[in-house]
Symmetry: C4
Subunit: 345 residues, 4 copies
């Protein structure tokens, strides 16, 4: 029977994937407190519905940095989709296009960024890890520009890799196909691929490098959001990296409101982390996110049923969002308001 | 052994009912968060009893929109009682009458509204779904008027049906008797039976159509309660549809006080959702409900033991309410006060 | 191996007692929410210890209505100790005397009040149920006076009996020895033994009847505590009847502070409900109780090992209390302060 | 496979140790509420990370009372390491030295304080129990001075031993090697080894006795911290003795901030209790601790793998701390701020 919700894909993916690949994808860092809270924190927020407003359907279409999407449910940058399915990011990007949405492509993809864009029918952003070598980063930006990517998403929460213990315990049994083949053609010493401790100067340098709009991914503190705006960033992705970097930081939905307030409309704000239901999307939008990014569930769909699975995950969330908006009396994602959401007693 | 409380009927009903019928009745929408909270939220409220007031028994009798009932525990509108027992609503309505209370009859009953009223000895309200066709709604109102129903309960939380996943998972095995036979004689195209996105104009139209008092069912937001009063509504049923519409909205008991404040005595306020104990009734009344409606437990009683079971459920709640009032030193449901209830630490 | 704490006696008692007797003793009313909270609420309070005060032992001795006790851990009035042990209250009262404390003897004892007082070496109070007949109550008071009881404890929370469902489910199998033999010699029609809805007039009448000091048992509301003082009551036992009357009322320790404030030193205030540890006693004393009463644990000790078991329960609590005071830097039960206790985050 | 975190050592130690030794080490007093809270309370605090600060590594080095340590993770004084491993404290102290940190040596060690210092390569403090005999305490202080210990840690929370029930239940089966052999050469009557109820005079006496700096261990109340400063104490170890003394007192991390405020920089403040993760260390430092002490995990490492195990536990915590600081954008333990930590919703 076809899954009736996103959570059901999790079990299917666990069965379908190599245990080491599953461990890598599903793990959070440390005690996985933040990873669990990402999900649970949505349950502490309640929706206060309105009635008799004649809302029989809801308009979900929006724009992100000018790109039109059919709904505000985007695909978060994640590495090595090949762990979930042999078609890797090429399947995911077709799912994104068919579902009318945008995909953010990871530096650490299983496929090259050109190969992915060749399969795309919708807008793409390129997620950039700036490692030790600025030349390497520059080459990636140039390739992304040439391949038609519409924005650069700079990950700023990874001066070091989080320790994913669940994955470490099965590390020696990792399948050979765990391969960042997207970077195979890059000819750099391996130490250049170590994570680097970036600064706001790197942000300025990156802005000077390209006309593509810049999104910072991994901001939780409102002061960093304000700094981002001052440094000309046009998008802020509130994220704790799916609970995979520093365990013990707040759930992203808990950090959202303060970031939105600090930004004060001067940049677009997005969120990822713990989105499993259309009502989660609705809560994030009401609290000021322009769109949300979905991570693991996309890989669950991909593992369970390839492109069709990833697409179904997006469709389930989209349909749930639309239904939630109708039932909450909200006609348009553009007119949602923080009053729609309140903290549970 | 006869059940000693309402909760014990749940297990009996599960055994007695077809699995698909059970799934349909017991399911909430989405993650069933709201359904669970409806019940659990009562546990967060405590009763502060008074002593030595000479209260040896309590007066439970009250009126709802002028109709006298022996106690303020009414039967919520629910579809297809035939799923629980072959006698369907005819058994339930006899139970209501014998228990001295009022039943709200659903548009989606297994029996016709005339058949049900013919079996009734107590007051009836008619719950109305206004689908796509106003003519159809008007015909139902006329039939309800003719059959002696005393009020129209317009459901306002259902511009779309909630997604009851537990039920969807067994949907293909639904028993053939799941049948809205009450509408069999209506000669309308099927699409007319789709839910409609109502507006306050529909409320005004309905008021212009009939002299029967109008109750809106499914209000949680105090602003909607205030609007209802302005539109001449005389009763407001605070309800989240038993957690079957939008998952993630507040428990009804959590929404009650603000609605009562917004209404300010200009209409009667009722509550349904999560009533399982006489103390739950007491808490709702103390917080300003004129009466409560009970849903699933009635079907549990009906499934377990037909009319006698439904009646026993009502009697258990009534006896528990009376005992709770005596033990709390409260002589009369008319004189309960919000101070009786406080939030647990 | 001898139990190392009071909780271990619970399992021993369950094994030792007839299942129906166990159900009767251990049951709370309704969903047993209040019964569980009585215990759990102590866990929400923390003790803030002081150090280097030279406290190597602590003085536990105190008085209750003038009677000297070696420690402030008293025995709560409970019916039919014969359910726990054939020696019934005669064993319990010897345990109380040997442990240097006071016992409150229930109207519903297995043994007559004279028989119990004949076995006593410590002070006794008599707990009075005023049923329908004032003459019967008066006779009991006279007998208590003659037998040397030092106070009357009027139970005020029982205009009706709470519904103990756990006990109802095994009711037909009740052992024949469940017998209120203390009242056998009373020659009254059975309906006179039904609970009565008392008023403050009954309190005044009782005060006019006897010079014995009067304690009201079952007060939770501060306004009732204030009324009690105005009616000349000299002791107030904050109690919810061990969670056996109205389920859903606050834990007694949660109700204590407001009662203490309302009384303002004009009467002694006690507490029962949920005392399982010496630290529970310490918390109650710090929050203003002059002494605490212990219920079920006494019957657990009695069931497990007769008089010696009941005495050991008292000694465990006494020793734990003394140790807790020493470790908290508190030399004397007379000088405890509310600042010692704070609510957990 | 080598443990990937400190918690994994707990299971290994349980397997490796004699059941009675395990019970002794792992037990808390009473219901073990405080012991559990020590750990759980860290989970209620969240870290608010900063980004793009160029933090690629963090400086962990600090001083405690002038002694340089490579990181602020020290070894708490604990008795009889011989229960965990035959090499006892000699193994632990080598681990401490190799890990670049300080060890506090217990009066109740399995080895003599001279033997331990002979194995040390890093700084040592001597934890002192002042029993009934001041002469005995003085002799211990003189021996500690001679052996090069750098501070005296006076335990102030033990006028009596906490009741560790888990340990009592297996007490008769205690292994013969549970031996406080460090005191074998002391020729005192056994009653002199009973715990004593100390006063601030004892603190003054101890200060007059030696020029070694004095640390008080076991303070939770801010008023006691202020008194300690007034009595010339230079270090305060916020501790509840690992939940082994008075059950029901606050988790140490909950007590820390108020102590830090009361001390106002006039002494160093440390914390022990519940440290299991580098993020726990980070939280304690941010809230004002100069360093933390780790207890049971050291014995877990020791039991599982001797000196190497104890060292690995220290290294795991150190590495986790460094990673947490980098990921939180914090370059130096000296510049952490309370704003880094916030209470979870």
């Amino acid at each position: 029977m076809e899954p009736v919700n996103v959570r059901e894909y999790e079990a299917l993916a666990r069965e379908a994937m190599h245990p080491a690949a599953w461990a890598y994808v599903s793990a959070g860092s440390g005690d996985e407190t933040t990873m669990r809270n990402n999900d649970a924190a949505f349950g502490q927020l309640e929706i206060m519905p309105r009635v008799l407003r004649g809302v029989g359907s809801a308009s979900l279409s929006t724009t992100v940095l000018g790109a039109v999407v059919e709904h505000p449910i985007l695909i978060s940058p994640m590495g090595v989709h090949g762990l979930a399915h042999p078609d890797g990011e090429c399947a995911t990007v077709r799912a994104a296009g068919n579902a009318g949405t945008l995909m953010a492509v990871s530096t650490a993809s299983s496929r090259s960024l050109e190969e992915i864009s060749a399969s795309a029918t919708g807008p793409l952003w390129f997620q950039l890890y700036v490692y030790r070598s600025r030349q390497f980063a520059e080459r990636l930006v140039r390739r992304a520009e040439s391949a038609g990517y519409r924005a650069i998403v700079l990950t700023v929460d990874s001066p070091r890799w989080g320790r994913k213990e669940r994955s470490m315990r099965v590390a020696e049994t990792l399948p050979p196909e765990l391969d960042y083949s997207s970077l195979d053609d890059e000819d750099l010493p391996e130490e250049e691929f170590e994570p680097a401790a970036l600064t706001w100067d790197d942000v300025d340098w990156l802005r000077s490098l390209t006309d593509l709009p810049l999104v910072l991914k991994g901001i939780l503190h409102p002061d960093d959001a304000a700094l981002a705006v001052e440094h000309g960033v046009t998008g802020i992705l509130v994220s704790n990296h799916g609970g995979r970097q520093l365990d013990g930081v707040p759930a992203s939905i808990e950090a959202l409101s303060n970031v939105v307030d600090a930004v004060g409309g001067r940049a677009e704000v997005y969120l990822d982390g713990g989105i499993r239901r259309g009502t989660d999307v609705l809560k994030a939008l009401a609290l000021g996110a322009k769109a949300v990014f979905v991570g693991r569930p996309i890989l669950w769909g991909l593992a369970a049923n390839g492109e069709a699975g990833a697409r179904h995950v997006l469709e389930l969330l989209r349909d749930e969002l639309e239904a939630a908006m109708v039932l909450a009396g909200q006609p348009d994602v553009a007119t949602l308001d923080p009053d729609l959401v309140m903290r549970r007693h």
